[in-house]
Amino acid sequence: MITEYVSSIFAIMVICYAIIMYGLGTFFQLYLGKYFVKKDYSYQPTVSVMLSCFNEGETVYHTIKSMRESNYPIEKLEILAFDDCSKDDSFAWIQKAAAEFPNIKAVKNKQNQGKAHSVLDAAKMATGEILVGVDSDCIFHPNAIKELMACFAEPKIAAVGGRVGVKNSNVNWLTRYQTVSYALSFILLKSVENIFRKIQCLSGPLVAIRRECFFEVAPQVQRRHFLGVKVTNGEDRALTQMLLRAGYSTYLNIDSLCWTTVPTKLSEYVRQQLRWRRSAIGQWLDALVRLPVMLKNNTTLSALFSLMPVFVLMSWILLVITSWISGNLIETLNRVVIFHVIISPFIALFYNFFAKRYFKEDSLESTYALSIGLIVSSLWFPFSGVVITIFALCTLDDAGWVTRAEPENNIIKD
């Protein structure tokens, strides 16, 4: 009886979070546009784009090319491309790009050290007023850099992120699901944090940071560890959190676009989710420890935003565990899955209706195929919420590129 009561509380927490965040996000986007940042396109500082590549092959060349073709003054844009000891021909492609386009520096690390530390090395070489971190597998919209810079018109904003779309969205049900997931997350879910300039995670594929702010928190990024094990992933979330704890504001400009290639196989997707979940949980633990700093230097709302998602994730796990103890697990999972199955076609319709009008680049070919994709993914959600989270919680000391290779050296040196 008590466990059923506790289950209900956790269920209410999960449902309320989803309703409030998506509901408020929609409301803010539709009716509170005037409270978002007033962009100033005349602000055009010098920009250093930092790119760390590992086993990307030819893709990295196209990434650099798309960045080079930005609608931004060429003399104000330098690109620092680092190869983190790829086992393929990635560095050759970087060198090719450096030969073909101006203001590109090609560097090869002496040893594999992870994306975060490659970016730190790149930052030391960078000369721009604004440092832009990008992923080596993304393609950028020509206006991506211009849009990011326009938001720095607000002086308190230390970092601006862009929206990440899906390049291979129409491959299979998994990529369709991820396309919707990315779009809803960037456009609706994050807009609640965005309106208060308290974005908790500016995604690594496209993020711009004021140089001085970056170097203010860079030592912390370098020192990140978990029980003595160097943490080399989740640098985007960590960097954003550190900036917020330093009292700065962070912002997401959904008009600054890039497209990434999402996993097409479930095994790849699981590994990616595991990496992200480790990063989220690690940062949540960090946020718990450093809560007084956040409360001192930033707002209570920011502290709340930093803790809430993982609290909700933990609520889901506790809901499953208490349902199991009370013997209602099958019933609970049934309800969750059936609810998702029922709303999937509506989400598909809603998504494609708005995508075709307001963000055509993210619209999908078939609403029917998207519905199927969302229905299939309904089975994934309960599994991901529990198993991936618990697995991540138990393997926080496992770091590295994960989706591509294992790190070689991950113990902090004296």
Binding site: L227, G228, V229, W324, G327, N328, L329, I330, E331, V387, I390, F391, L393, C394, T395, L396, D397, D414
Partner: protein, 349 residues
């Protein structure tokens, strides 16, 4: 610091490993359990029904209500049968009475007709006699005037004249009497004639009509009785079937474990309809570790109850329909298991 981190890291890794093993083990075990309970057809949920349970108390009240109702139905049947017998007798006597009355009326009508006919001929004779007497009276009247004349003429004395007058007067009175008698006869004849006519179906005599009315009243009574008998007969049939049904229900209720539990705690097990085929009287019951392995014989089935019962599935927690079976446990501790198996071991060991 590095050493401390190393210790923490080792502890974290050990705990994490144990936790992950637990997680994976739990998922596998849960999956196996789900599969097991989906495929197995011999599991049952043991229950102990005790005298203080609400369901037992409610059942007792239900049985008492049914018994009261059953007794009332039997009294109603007895009353209906008594009423039926009485009305049947009344009907038979009414039919006999009616028959007798009808015969009597018929005889009376014939008699009246004959008497009327006799009176008619007697009346005709009397009328002939009156006619003769009237001629005699005319003669007497002339004789009377002759007596007056003879008295005036002094041919006869007053005494003689008076004597003659008295004789004449007596004769005249006699004639008048005859006339009156004739009128009476005529009246009587008409009475008899009309009575005969009415008793034969006519509408001329009120007194005779009352006899017909008696017949009609008897007919109404007979019809009423016949209707009553049909109604009572239907009621008796209905009561008989109701009593039979009540008897069946009462028997079922009294055979219920909830009724048996009024006196002592009763061990039963719930079986879904799918699992019922293994449940036969004296079939063995098995109790197992971890719900499904290392099973031992724990008792036997002592009864299979008819009433449909509801329970919650031990894994899926959905409402399921089935029946109770009575269980005799060798060791009462086994009655506290959450699942037992009927007929055979679930995994053969």
């Amino acid at each position: 610091m590095k050493r401390l981190h190393g210790i923490y890291l080792s502890m974290y890794r050990i705990i994490g490993f144990i936790f992950l093993i637990g997680l994976v083990g739990s998922i596998i075990w849960y999956g196996i359990s789900l599969l097991f309970f989906t495929l197995n057809k011999s599991w049952a949920i043991p229950l102990v029904i005790s005298p203080t349970q609400d369901k037992v108390l409610n059942h007792q009240a239900q049985v008492a209500g049914f018994e009261q109702n059953y007794a009332k139905q039997k009294v109603d049947l007895l009353n209906a049968q008594t009423s039926f017998d009485a009305k049947k007798k009344l009907l038979e006597s009414s039919i006999a009475l009616r028959s007798r009355l009808a015969n009597t009326i018929k005889s009376e009508a014939s008699r009246y007709a004959v008497e009327s006919k006799n009176l008619s001929s007697s009346l005709n004779e009397r009328r002939g006699s009156i006619k003769t007497n009237q001629q005699t009276i005319s003669t007497l009247n002339s004789l009377s005037s002759d007596v007056q004349k003879e008295l005036q003429a002094g041919l006869i004395t007053k005494e003689q004249a008076l004597g003659r007058q008295i004789q004449l007067q007596g004769l005249s009175t006699s004639i008048i009497d005859q006339k009156n008698q004739a009128i009476d006869l005529e009246h009587k004849r008409k009475e008899l004639s009309s009575a005969s006519n009415t008793l034969s179906g006519g509408n001329t005599n009120l007194t005779a009509f009352k006899s017909d009315l008696e017949i009609a009243n008897l007919d109404i009574l007979i019809a009423q009785l016949q209707t009553d008998l049909i109604t009572i007969d239907a009621t008796i049939h209905s009561l008989n079937s109701t009593i039979a049904e009540s008897n069946r229900v009462l028997t079922t209720l009294k055979n219920s474990p909830f009724y048996l539990a009024l006196r002592n705690p009763t061990n039963v097990a719930f079986l879904t309809y799918d699992n019922l085929k293994n449940a036969k009287k004296d079939a063995p019951i098995y109790s197992c570790y971890l719900h499904m392995i290392f099973c031992h014989k724990a008792g036997k089935v002592n009864a299979i109850y008819e009433a449909e019962e509801y329970a919650r599935h031990p894994m899926f927690k959905t409402d399921i329909k089935g029946r109770f079976i009575g269980i005799t446990f060798n060791d009462l501790e086994d009655s506290q298991d959450s699942v037992i198996f009927v007929g055979r071991k679930p995994l053969f060991f």
